[in-house]
């Protein structure tokens, strides 16, 4: 087990480094010059060269990569003397337009995205597994039809359309929900939830569809599985059997969830845009709009980090859910 964990960890780190390599090659190798937008007005070439040197964007891609990786573990310093800015480890780069290291920027935005993603995850798991289980147990019933239709909708409607609909209806028309803003959990848990209900609804509407389907099919499989028939043969009631059957659904759900970390992050970009929340997605978009490569690279890599950690957790969780994976 320890070997297994260790191996997964090493794999995760290796993956992160490779993704960083690809990302940095792609972005710092691109034709855009980040110094351009930092140069000011007017912007003669000498000034631009100075800025470029200060931002260290005049260096080679490989150099950028090694510096980045070094920065992750040991921090990174830009400029010299009193002008130097230090970006402490783990350094995901330094954003000059924001005069802040990207790690700090991410740390500021993370609570928003995490609140958004975790809340949506919980909601979509509860709704997805709940509806999926109900429709499997009462196959062909009203709930089944409703949730199959619901799943079909959720699978097909683009996130932003749902987002706009929710915003329009609940925010502007009914004035039932706040249409923007974020209150941190520590300030007021109630307000926190209240402000996030809209985005949660949107994200979980989109994602729940998959869980409804998986839960439904897996549970239907599971319910007809011999070991559950055997359980009934032992004298177990339907409820006991159903409860046990749900265990068999957890593994595919966990596997799916691991993949959905990506979808959650992607979805939150759109949800953040619609609900004007300032999370990682918003940070990324601002980086894109302001040609702030450090932010773009930093946020992308940090998201990769989140995804890999999510996958790692799912991988480590899997043996707990299914003893068959617990070998070695």
């Amino acid at each position: 087990m320890i070997v297994y964990i260790a191996r997964r960890m090493v794999t995760a780190v290796f993956m992160l480094l490779s993704i960083a390599f690809v990302t940095i090659c792609l972005f710092f190798g691109a034709s855009k010059d980040p110094a351009r937008s930092m140069c000011g007005k007017p912007c003669p070439p000498e000034t631009r060269a100075k800025v470029s040197a200060y931002m260290q964007t005049d260096q080679s891609v490989l150099w950028q990569y090694t510096e980045f990786v070094k920065g992750l573990f040991a921090g990174r310093t830009y400029g010299q003397g009193a002008q130097q800015v230090h970006c402490p480890a783990p350094c995901f780069g330094y954003s000059f337009p924001n005069r802040s290291d990207v790690t700090t920027l991410i740390a500021e935005r993370l609570p928003v995205t995490l609140s958004l993603a975790l809340g949506a995850a919980v909601l979509c798991l509860v709704v997805g597994i709940g509806l999926g289980a109900l429709s499997a147990i009462r196959k062909g019933g009203v709930v089944d039809r409703f949730s199959t239709g619901f799943a079909m909708f959720g699978l097909s409607v683009p996130t932003f359309l749902v987002g706009l609909l929710v915003l329009q209806v609940f925010g502007f028309m009914l004035n039932a929900l706040p249409y923007s803003g974020f209150v941190s959990f520590s300030e007021s848990p109630a307000d926190w939830a209240w402000h996030l209900i809209g985005p949660w609804m949107v994200l979980s509407f989109i994602l729940a569809a998959g869980y409804i389907r998986v839960t439904r099919t897996q549970l239907l499989n599971e319910l007809s599985a011999d070991h559950l028939v055997a359980m009934t043969a032992r004298g177990a009631s339907n409820r006991q059997v159903n409860r046990h059957a749900v265990r068999g659904v957890m593994v595919p759900v966990a596997a799916m969830f691991a993949l959905d970390v990506t979808a959650l992050l992607g979805g939150s970009v759109i949800a953040e845009k619609v609900f004007s929340l300032h999370g990682l997605g918003d940070l990324l978009l601002s980086g894109v709009n302001e040609s702030d490569l450090s932010i773009v690279v930093g946020v992308t890599l940090f998201s990769a980090f989140l995804i890999i950690v999510g996958n790692l957790i799912a991988d480590l969780l899997m043996p707990l859910l299914d003893p068959r994976i617990r070998r070695v």
């Binding site: 070991h227 055997a230 009934t232 032992r234 004298g235 046990h244 265990r247 068999g248 003893p323 068959r324």
Partner: protein
């Protein structure tokens, strides 16, 4: 004489799908006393499993059973959910063919047995249940049972799993054990052990056993009485000896002749022999016409003529060598010709 543990009367099982209803088991009547083993033999699709499940009222979706099934005095077909729950596992237990899929992959072996126990007696503590589990595993011959209770099904070999399943079935000392092909998935050597174990436990607990099998060999070594099913109908019923030595149904006789035997060569003095095969393929009740389901494959149908094709024969009594024994066969022929003439 006490009441039989299992009594089945005129059991019919039918499947409904797409508005069409078809019988898969028809007019089955049989009874079984405690301490005795009834083997149900027949080819694939002949309705063996369905019969076993009907007894437990564990039919798949779309299936319905008519007739009467009485287990230890309880009417199974009219019992309500609660009664059924009480009967299942305590009065009648089941051992499935595929021990791997019959065990939950998420529970260790101990939890399985403990669950079987506690489902029927909530007063048993978890700890006591697990202690019983260890005892039972020991009883069915699993080495180091204290360690084995903590292992998961996938960590057991097929034979060990089947032993565990037996332990689970017997933990509540049921009056009737239904064993649906309990050894088909196992090696011959293991198969022998399991059959021996079942036999041994049956004697110890005095329970009745319904042993489902398609293998004449297994039947011959484990049963007291035999029920031969063909296409969902009772072809022949009788004591082991009657079935083997004086089969009254051409199908039974054909099966015996088609089964290769280890001593085959010895009998024929070392020359190559050919088995006497039954021509054609097994049919199911669904495809069968109004007549005898076996008629299309029967070498003797010509002797009887039209009747085999239009009228399904009813089980009628045949001569028996046992005292007070019952021997029934569903064939229009009263007497089978000598073995050589049976098959074409």
């Amino acid at each position: 004489m006490s009441d039989p543990v299992l009594q089945i009367e005129d059991l019919c099982v039918s499947f409904t799908s797409g508005g069409v209803t078809a019988d898969v088991v028809r007019d089955l009547s049989v009874s079984l006393d405690g301490g005795r083993t009834l083997a149900v033999v027949g080819e694939s699709g002949s309705g063996k499993t369905i019969t076993g499940r009907a007894i437990m009222r564990l039919l798949p979706r779309g299936a319905s059973a008519r007739g009467r099934i009485v287990v230890a005095g309880r009417e199974m077909l009219s019992a309500d959910e609660r009664e059924l729950r009480r009967a299942r596992g305590r009065e009648v237990a089941m051992v499935f063919q595929d021990s791997m899929s019959a065990l939950s992959p998420y529970l260790d072996i101990g939890a399985h047995i403990a669950q079987a126990l506690r489902l029927h007696d909530a007063s048993v503590t978890r700890r006591a249940a697990r202690a019983r589990a260890v005892e039972m595993l020991d009883r069915v011959g699993i080495p180091e049972p204290a360690d084995a209770v903590r292992r998961f099904p996938h960590e057991f070999s097929g034979g060990m799993r089947q032993r565990a399943v037996i332990a689970m079935a017997l933990v509540n000392r049921p009056a009737l054990l239904i064993a649906d092909e309990p050894t088909t998935a196992l090696d011959v050597t293991v198969q022998a052990q399991i059959l021996a174990l079942l036999r041994e436990l049956q004697q110890e607990y005095g329970m009745a056993m319904l042993l489902i099998s398609h293998d004449f060999g297994v039947v011959g070594s484990a049963a007291d009485e035999v029920l031969v099913l063909y296409a969902g109908r009772q072809a022949e019923y009788g004591s082991l000896r009657d079935i083997f030595h004086r089969p009254a149904h051409p199908y039974t006789a054909g099966l015996r002749a088609a089964t290769p035997r280890l001593d085959a060569r010895l009998e024929t003095g070392g020359r190559r022999t050919r088995l006497r095969a039954i021509p054609g393929a097994p049919t199911s009740l669904r495809d069968a016409g109004p007549g005898c389901a076996f008629a299309p494959r029967c070498g003797l149908a010509d002797q009887v003529g039209e009747r085999c094709l239009v009228e399904a024969p009813l089980p009628t009594a045949r001569p028996t060598s046992e005292v007070g024994g019952l021997h029934l066969a569903a064939c229009h022929l009263d007497r089978l010709p000598a073995p050589q003439e049976v098959a074409r």
